[in-house]
Symmetry: C2
Subunit: 193 residues, 2 copies
Amino acid sequence: MKGRDARRQALVEQMADHVLSVGLPGASLRPLAAACGTSDRMLLYYFADKNELLSATLGAVAARLTQLLDAALPGVAPYAVLLPRICRLMAAAPMKPYLQLWLELAALASRQQEPYLTIAGQLGDGFLAWTAARLEVSREADRLPTASLLLATVEGTVVLRAIGRETMVAAALGQLPDEEPNPARPRRPRKSR
Amino acid sequence: MKGRDARRQALVEQMADHVLSVGLPGASLRPLAAACGTSDRMLLYYFADKNELLSATLGAVAARLTQLLDAALPGVAPYAVLLPRICRLMAAAPMKPYLQLWLELAALASRQQEPYLTIAGQLGDGFLAWTAARLEVSREADRLPTASLLLATVEGTVVLRAIGRETMVAAALGQLPDEEPNPARPRRPRKSR
DNA sequence: ACTTTTATGTAGCGACTGCTACATATCATC
DNA sequence: GATGATATGTAGCAGTCGCTACATAAAAGT
């Protein structure tokens, strides 16, 4: 009764590895079991069914992501600085598997499928809180609305990058309200006049 | 050789209906065939394989979406007006099946799967052009960058709505640069002073 | 009328899906 | 050392997946 929970946790972590590398399409019982060095039979011995198993695994993934995000971007910044900063963070290699999984979750959640809808919602709440905590606002009442707007834009760049349109992301980020202190930005080579 | 293409087109339209209603997860050969009143055998008689069949079907879906979007939102508007306008359009009921499919495409594209990556990319290009055409800018050089930023934010609200966070969308849209001419918006009941 | 092309039905293959029945180990407790 | 709980292997079920071999019907062309 004690080692059982420990074994479950160990399996969950190994399954999290596997899901992060191949995504939900590859998250069927036999491949998952193989990634854990066990059998589908044993997975269903430790978990009631695939749903419970996946819920636990995605929970572990969410925990890793939370940890990863919390470690990133210390300090606060105003909207116009924070947006490109977060977008750059989301474009970094370590985020890729999480964001691929995130889009798969969003697609399933969009069809109201449980447990994905619930999990994706909680992840979204986490994203918002994380964003809000790093946002510098003049009026405190603007924090959540501004963070929501920022989050939406970031999510959008994630989608655009997913469909291979990094150019659009770059164009969008070049089009900020221009409040960040970036002295060395060549606007245009200032034609001779 | 003549009726063949007509039959293909008819099948494609019926499959588009089906895909729009159940999404890519339900787009396997036998259900698709049933939706067309035929058999999987016949689908693979008119199409080389499932990939070709799905490409054609998603092309038809894209055409419908283009038509649907082109009919919507005549006239141009500046960024701050256009953003909530488009978001409201995306939240409308007729868009739902398209956006659910769009997220599924984005998730598959994110894993570099063809033909989804190509199709999603083309759809994204269409979105950007559509947005840019409705955007009112002061400097023409800002059109594409600003449209990209707008598109990203819109896509983000689509994701947030997919995961059941309409509240975040509402909060984000309340947090616009506030340039739209909306005289009857109660900011706050202006406390007595 | 004969042949060739076009269209359709039937049946099935091998692989995979989530899940389960049954048997058996291993091991702690009484 | 018998007994019961915990753990694991083997085998398989009923279903779906994309796809194909084989037969045949209808139609078109000669």
